[in-house]
Subunit: 347 residues, 4 copies
């Protein structure tokens, strides 16, 4: 099979999806400043490869919060996956499992926990603290019971930002169905509590019990530190793929700030514009443990279902292996900050 | 009603206005370097949003020189508003009042003080020190009598600069009529005195009596300081929307210099390229108390009269509220300089 | 008469000139990197205008090496002016005189000293040190006799660089005729001595007697200093309008280095991409005494002969006056370095 | 003959070559970030020419590892030259010899050592450490016997990167034939050992006996130093013309780092985007002894065979001479770092 270039994937997905669905996935918020900046900021980091290192065998396997994965590339949570393919979240989970990657399941999933239980691989549940705290706790319990390995609290969405290319989409009838309790209260306004604070994070850390807690959507060092102080086990640098605050700093730049604000033992993840092995190496060199892909996984699901997702992840792993080898790195431990040079030097 | 994007507004206005009128409003001076730079410079400031703050209720109301306003977005003075809509300045005033914003009325208004008196909201009078000082004093008196809350002295226009896309426009018959005395002396050359200095500012501060005095068109810290020393109550950072000195520093950059040159208690305003809630947050983070819109308000007036102006301001307020919430700010007091990151870092 | 925009002038000239003539004038050398950079580098300097200064009367007259001129804008030497208009150098001289500007006459002039003697205004002779030193001295003597006010030694042309858009042009029959002795030896290879050094500059300073000596084509501080040490009276920052070393630093950037390397009393001039009053103010703020225009004067000559040249210079003076007024400067003495801000700040 | 502009050469070559061959040569790897950056990075270095130096005679001859060459421009190794012209490597060698330049012969040559022996000029052999060390030693012996002046170990290719515009090319039947032993084992996977380290470099330095050893593909100062410590005689800064690690730092920027990490007596070479005399001067000013051209030489071979290659090199030498003269440098020793200014200054 020919290699899957994420950029070709997007074109292929565009041709199979209804325009409004394509637009809903592709869009950013506002004037899409951050959407563009996310992609550009990785490119701004030039690589200074090492030579004459033994890269006969390159190992990109690692662990994420203790879970072994075949590579640092994981699948970010994206809602309403049945919009792009009948297999929906089940297909995404199967593909990720096949490739040995973690899946972060969106609370806005269009599949139930029960259906997903059969999908082999490890998964996390992305959630929000809902206005109804009991319902929040219910979701957490069900997730734990269904086998989630961690909870991911998304904190960059106190309100859902207006999208540049999608208004009033998805339609009301495409309602999340993860747990029956949510279905009855699909209206977004009801769901998410914009009043959530670090105190709620502490509450959630308690509710989640033995499940580790990841905070997703942090771009500041001080906030990252405060999350950990409030009980977070890891921090996920994200601006929601340029879909929330437009004008937000691109993640490639926020990552360094967040990483340096945290103790080494706290894992940091990143997403936003990660498209190939190079970008992953740049993320790792800036101190990330894993890099998540959002849209590329959706395009893969749209064009190839579960198999498409698996192919994407396997291809990205191969691309990462090649990139590591060309950087003179035999394993992820060799990927250190000195691999980077700023792209536009000023003497 | 669908949200009003200022960029869509301009296109709509273009389609309803005669070309020469559209060009006269859209144009900058010279090669329009500053016109373009004004827009770009806001984008150069990336935002670093805070998370996990209670943004259940976001309050963007504030006061400007003591006048309560529903948001920091106000209407900048633009001349000859009847050119774009029969309601002219009256429509602009009505729309601003409806939205709870301040209006700065241009001396080149095509409506009389009397007509405007009925428009409910608070307004300021923008003026020039005219060659005829008595006439200047007359205008000030009439404004005070008609209910102006402050005077805005525009100082970036000792001469009217040549426009890039408009020559010999507006035609002589479109004459300002704020007070009858001006009507008789419509020739621009007669009006504005290019010899005005800080001494005249001191004179005006006296003449204006209890009316506070704002100086508009300042882009330097030393000048800002000198204005306050000469009696100004507030400073308005502006380059006249790129219509006066082309090549002038964009206001997004001048703002920081001006702000840091003044004591905290002196209010600073800014205009030039402000187009959405993001830009307003950037301006506030740099220390502005209010941000004024020029062209967007004219486009709104052209396409929808008073209602259009109201819609624009209400929409911008909503956009600002959303932006604040996404920045983790519940009120304007939370908007501090640490929300900003330079867009193009160099390590 | 409508204002002459140099950019419109170029289009007009293009439409009246044969393609090969237009190309010969418009072209730069190499890949035209410096041609483009010259224009862009002025734009990179943003202006921070002053306000509330009395600019009721703006005086842009000045002196250049003691010669009074009506503005700091002068005419740079360009060869073969009869190629673009039958009046050739005579037309250029007449136009410059009419506007009160200095003309620098090229050694490659297609008019004789005798013909030019009648043109009223002050002029300098641009020359090269030729292989034949006696012939060089002859040219100097004739120039002095014909009324030249200074000599301009061009030092950036030890060889004539290959042009990007002009090869083998001008044709041999278009031969310089300033003095009959040159006519007989038109082959460029014969003319210019690539072995000229600071010692020859000292020799020329002696030969030129009471005529001041300007060195044109300097972009380095150390060289500028060495020129003055060797007897130069003034230094002209130029890269030959991007027609000699391609890749050379743009003059807007070289100017600061040169200015700061010289004592204040040594005048510094600049050319290259000067197109309007803004650019002139930028040059003056960086310490230049005068700014020269090359191509714009040729376009003006091509389209309007002597009158065209006069119109261009009068228009540029008016534009400069407007710009000065808008900068809050009543005279050239007010144009100081603090008027500038870098266009792309990095905090 | 009209001057050969490398950029015109590429267009000419494109028109004579089959698309797949053109693409194979023109392509970079990945998203071709480095391919583009290589070209742009030279331009980012502005030149500050000296004036009034005697450049009546400009001498660009030099020596490379003791071998006299007519200019610092040499030919980089490129595989499969018979793909573009029937003369293949023989033509390239003849052209280089004619112009007095060194040729670096690729291990992937489509000509035998025997055929090449007759080509007069000095040449180096570029090689890889193969999985089969004995075969590696055999190649080295044959090269020494056939007259190679140095060995060039390419170290940026532990694996062959995927190309952006060429997949599965060249076809299997276009097999390297330098020595018969290689022919039988044409599969790339068999050839290159991705496990090569500094220890192997030391081994090769021994095997190569009296032949000097150059390491090609270094972009880091620490690696350059380690190469010399392991026995390398010189270091060649290269990112394989943007065909290996995409995202790699452009060579114009890596050069300064490498140069400053090495003692002055160790020669440093550079390639990647060198297209004219300007680029060569920039490379020399950054401390390179020689600059190699890859694609331009292939385009020249494609369009003109041996004569085309000779013309290219002679033209580039002439362009370099002109550039040196315009920089006020009479010889390569005059090309020092102070000739450079960064293209985008920040104050
Ligand atoms: C269509 C779509 C839906 C998304 N839905 C969610 C979601 O439900 N929860 C969440 O935390 N993030 C969501 N995200 C954000 C992603 O998790 C991720 O942060 C982002 O897509 C990464 O950027 P990328 O698309 O450039 O890889 C969504 C993104 C997209 C494109
Ligand atoms: C058509 C037009 C007319 C204007 N007339 C005036 C005026 O009479 N007095 C004044 O102080 N500023 C005037 N301005 C400048 C505005 O007050 C304001 O500084 C500028 O428009 C802000 O930039 P923006 O248009 O990008 O928002 C005018 C601007 C425009 C576009
Ligand atoms: C067509 C042409 C001919 C020129 N001939 C001469 C010349 O004979 N001597 C000289 O010193 N400079 C010559 N120059 C350079 C100009 O004096 C001046 O440095 C340059 O044109 C300034 O740049 P600008 O054209 O962007 O204003 C010539 C320039 C042009 C465009
Ligand atoms: C078609 C092609 C084949 C190449 N083959 C080899 C090779 O066999 N060995 C090697 O060390 N470099 C090889 N290179 C890289 C060149 O030696 C050189 O590093 C690069 O082409 C320089 O960049 P430039 O093409 O921009 O001048 C090749 C380059 C090209 C374009």
């Amino acid at each position: 099979a020919p290699p899957i270039e994420p950029r070709d994937l997007e074109a292929a997905a565009r041709s199979v999806l209804p325009t409004e669905v394509y637009d809903y996935i592709a869009t950013g918020s506002g004037a899409e400043e951050t959407l563009a900046a996310n992609l550009a900021a990785w490119r701004d980091l030039a690589l200074a490869p090492r030579v004459l290192r033994d890269v006969g065998g390159v190992d990109v396997s690692t662990t994420v919060l203790g879970t072994p994965v075949s590579s640092p590339v994981q699948v970010a949570p994206t809602g309403y996956q049945r919009l792009v393919h009948p297999d929906g979240e089940l297909g995404m989970a199967t593909g990720a499992a096949h490739a040995g990657s973690l899946l972060a399941l969106s609370t806005r999933a269009t599949t139930t926990f029960e259906e997903l239980a059969d999908a082999a691989g490890p998964w996390w549940l992305q959630l929000y603290v809902l206005r109804d705290r009991d319902l929040t706790a219910t979701v957490v319990e069900r997730a734990a019971a269904a086998g989630a390995r961690a909870l991911v609290l998304t904190v960059d969405t106190p309100y859902v930002a207006r999208k540049a290319r999608a208004t009033a989409f998805p339609p009301a009838e495409v309602s999340p169905v993860l747990v029956p309790e949510l279905r009855a209260r699909a209206d977004e306004g009801v769901w998410q509590d914009p009043g959530v604070t670090f105190a709620d994070l502490a509450w959630l850390a308690e509710v989640s019990g033995r499940l580790p807690l990841v905070v997703k959507g942090v771009v500041r060092g001080d906030d990252a530190r405060a999350c950990v102080d409030a009980g977070a086990d890891a921090v996920w640098v994200s601006n929601h793929g340029g879909r929330q605050l437009d004008g937000a700093v691109p993640t490639a730049r926020a990552l360094a700030e967040v990483r340096s604000a945290l103790p080494d033992e706290v894992e940091v993840y990143v997403d936003g514009g990660i498209r190939n092995g190079r970008d992953v190496v740049r993320a790792l060199a800036l101190g990330a443990t894993a890099a998540f892909v959002g849209r590329p996984a959706v395009w893969a699901l749209a064009t190839g279902g579960a198999a498409g997702v698996g192919d994407l992840l396997v291809t990205m792993r191969a691309d990462l292996e090649e990139t590591l080898a060309l950087c003179g790195c035999a394993s992820l431990a060799d990927v250190t900050p000195d691999l980077l040079r700023p792209a536009h030097p000023h003497r």
